[in-house]
Amino acid sequence: MSNVIAPDMPDKPEFALYVEGLTVSFNGFVAVNNLSLYVDKGETRVVIGPNGAGKTTVLDLICGRTKATSGSIRFNDIELTTMSEHKIVRAGVGRKFQTPSIYETLTVRENLEVSFPRGRTVFGALTFRLTPDVVERVEEVAEEIFLSAHLDRPAELLSHGQKQWLEIGMLLMQSPELMMLDEPVAGMSVSEREKTAELLNRIGKHRSMIVIEHDMEFARHIADKVTVLHQGQVLAEGSMDHVQNDPRVIEVYLGH
């Protein structure tokens, strides 16, 4: 193994995610243009920007759903751009989609069980047993996402907000080191938003997160750092206050 670090090595900044020169074009339309982004270990980064800024595309690129035209994405020193989606997930990157993406025909419990990171091959899935550690983990996660009382309900009967939580829970089952959430509070009530902010703050302690968000108040609650995207490029980066006072940001995004 080459990554054995000598004890006397100087501390270098610990980036969890290291994106450089990332570009993708769809038939000539450049959705993401020479983008660079560095996310620290344990950091919660909120990405904001007007519609069409390329926010979702950036997440798609990191999780392998879209292949980059050029550039590099390194996660814990693994190059992700050439890896297939399921291998990126196994490397520790979790992705939540914008519209809640859960298995409606299964119960909440089954949704979580299926997301448990064991038995991921055909044979593994055939011989997978619900051992006590799985059951325990399911209950632990259900508690965390406020769904303990709903474990045995079919997921299709959950409210919109609960579905969003369930999908977050499905990611938590995998204990990803980097969690990417695309508008996690879209369509939620005020009280649900508050609970979600609390949830994200709690789970953000143990991992890096990238959250796409439109709601400025919500972003302020959870962000360590904010990146503003505009036309596929980084327009501004820094604390929420810094970003909100940046004249270019005000012009393209916050102004109207």
């Binding site: 399921h86 989609f97 990171p117 038995g119 055939l126």
Partner: protein, 369 residues
């Protein structure tokens, strides 16, 4: 044992359902039907293998294959080739210009047994080939299609094309395959006359046991995590992929399982009916087999068996009683079932019969446990 009980047999309802079907197949039919009719039912039940395979790959996996006749045919042809070679001893074919080869080869001026046929002299090879060849084809097709994420509709079209290609190939290569007539005049299996009444009775039961084996295996697969993953994939394929699963592998697997089930059915068809022909391989039979599963209920393994039986009984009843319009009656029946009951007979049971059974239970006096 209790885990087996839970995983394979499922709930009490599941056990009762299996028991009822077992009684019908192993007791009622053999008691009320004469050997000729029983043999006919055995033929229908050999289609049921295809239907339960479709429940697995279409109902649960969301993969609609309109070419299951290919696998049914391959299984059937493997068995037919073995039986034909056994029937074509030099003594039995002494009048041919080349004795010792199947009769249709002789008619087509073929003077030596083709290389393809050689291994089918061995019964052991045949038994392995029946599941292995269809599984191999299913894996090749599946890998080619699913790894490239070919959509559901395109997949269905490609499977149709394969069914067409195989039936055209069989018909065209008369000297090697028996052409449009198929492989006929099959007489004995390892010296045992399969046309006798006692053989037909035994084959009927062997067929039934194999069918139950496939149903139990299917139940085991569907109750495992793999079964839940199949349902999850049908619902939100992307979510499964982004939960760290290689979705294509699961699709290939379930498609191959369905292919193997179909092939077993095909081999049992050949044994019970005594011939195999391309009319069980092409597009029309393949679609008919999908209808069996649709009528029975594409989410129910047992429903698929009932669906197969009912459609086939209906087919012979309508065609005998209304010879002119029976096809329209069948067509009308399918449209009615699919429009009114998208989950088939099993859906009717689930939505209308089971609630009544449930309602009745609390009112009834407590049963002794």
């Amino acid at each position: 044992m209790s885990r087996f009980y839970k995983n394979v047999l499922g709930s009490r309802e599941g056990v009762i359902g299996l028991a009822i079907l077992a009684v019908i197949v192993f007791v009622v039919f053999p008691l009320v039907l004469d050997v000729f009719r029983l043999n006919l039912v055995g033929k229908y039940l050999s289609y049921a293998f295809v239907a339960i395979g479709l429940v697995m790959c279409w109902g649960y996996g969301g993969i609609l294959s309109l070419g299951q006749g290919v696998f049914f045919g391959l299984g059937g042809y493997c068995m037919a080739m073995f039986l034909k070679l056994e029937a074509s001893t030099p003594e039995a074919t002494a009048i041919q210009s080349t004795p010792g080869i199947p009769d249709f080869m002789d008619w087509n001026q073929i003077t030596a047994l083709p290389l393809l046929w050689e291994p089918f002299k061995s019964f052991a090879f045949t038994l392995i080939a029946i599941p292995a060849i269809p599984a191999l084809l299913a894996v090749l097709l599946g890998v080619a299609m699913f790894k490239r994420r070919v959509g559901e509709v395109y997949f269905a079209i490609v499977t149709q094309a394969v069914a067409l290609i195989l039936s055209v190939l069989i018909i065209g290569q008369q000297g090697y395959t028996g052409g449009v007539n198929g492989i006929t005049d099959l007489k004995t299996l390892l010296g045992w006359d399969i046309r006798s009444d006692s053989a037909r009775l035994i084959l009927y039961f062997v067929n039934g046991v194999l069918l139950f084996g496939c149903i139990l295996f299917g139940k085991f697969l569907l109750s495992s995590k793999l079964g839940k993953l199949l349902m999850a994939m049908r619902d939100k394929e992307e979510r499964v992929r982004f939960s760290g699963y290689d979705v294509a592998n699961f699709k290939v697997f379930v498609f191959a399982v369905a292919a193997v089930f179909s092939a077993i059915g095909g081999a049992m068809f050949t044994l019970q009916v005594g011939f195999m022909s391309p009319s069980f391989v092409g597009i029309v039979p393949s679609i008919e087999m999908v209808i069996f599963a649709a009528v029975g209920g594409r989410l129910s393994l047992l429903g698929a068996v009932y669906g197969t039986l009912i459609v086939n009984f209906g087919k012979s009843y309508f065609s005998e009683t209304f010879p002119e319009v029976w096809l329209f009656l069948m067509g009308g029946l399918f449209i009615a079932v699919v429009m009114a009951f998208p989950n088939g007979l099993a859906g009717i049971y689930k939505d209308y019969v089971r609630p009544r059974l449930r309602l009745a239970r609390p009112v009834a006096p407590k049963e002794a446990v």
